[in-house]
Amino acid sequence: MGIRSWVPAAGPFAELQRQMNRVFDSVFGRELGPLGPMRAGYVYPPTNVWETGDVYVVECEVPGLEMEDLEVYVTGDQLTVSGRRPETVPEAGVTLHRRERDSGRFSRALTLPGPVNGGATEATLSDGRLTVRVPKTEESKPKRVTIQAAS
């Protein structure tokens, strides 16, 4: 039996209980998305993943990054996207009015659901979106099973 905490819907401690649960989630626990760990609240880069019969397609939003700012690796069935977001505002001689864009190093690893052919992976970058196509190995591809009438 696991530990479950009860969050009351109302009452003097309801909001405090909710906030404490959130703190525990983000510091001690890691939410597991279908493909890997996610820190509660902020994940970079935002990523979409879908699959066809032949390939896994991973799309990341990385506005402002060039090819030299990014590294993409496939190790086994794990895809890693890492790099550095360049400084967006000049360091000296400016008056800053608003800073909403982040900068700095990042690394994100995604475990794909099945075996892949890492060496045949293709990655393209356009308009601030990185698209990585990771081909499935033959054993990962769906195989049609012929149904036979029972005799």
Partner: protein
Amino acid sequence: MAKTVDIPVERESALREPPASYFVPATDIYETPDELVLAAEMPGVKADGMDVTVEDSVLVLRGRPRAEPETRGGVLLKEFASGEYYRAFQLPADFDTARIQATLKQGVLTLRLPKSERMKPKRIEVKVE
């Protein structure tokens, strides 16, 4: 390196109103001695989907990403959706909006507004009497 594309800045207000639902692009705004600079992140938007309008000192940015092909297969993770970006800024009245320049590179729209001579900081010489 991706090339930087110039974006024409319109004066008409046809696209000034926000769409029904939209994403707000993360934007940095800073000022150098010579100009005001805004940089807004709109990944997935190409030059033909970007609209920049200035009217009455209100700067309106709109970006429409290309329509996604529907041949997607099984979705395993979805952290971002594709949709229109919109943001409006009230610019200080003193800026010469006629000389605003807009460029687009890797999904980041950068706007530069030169300051008029009157606005640039001038060093006051202190004379000793």
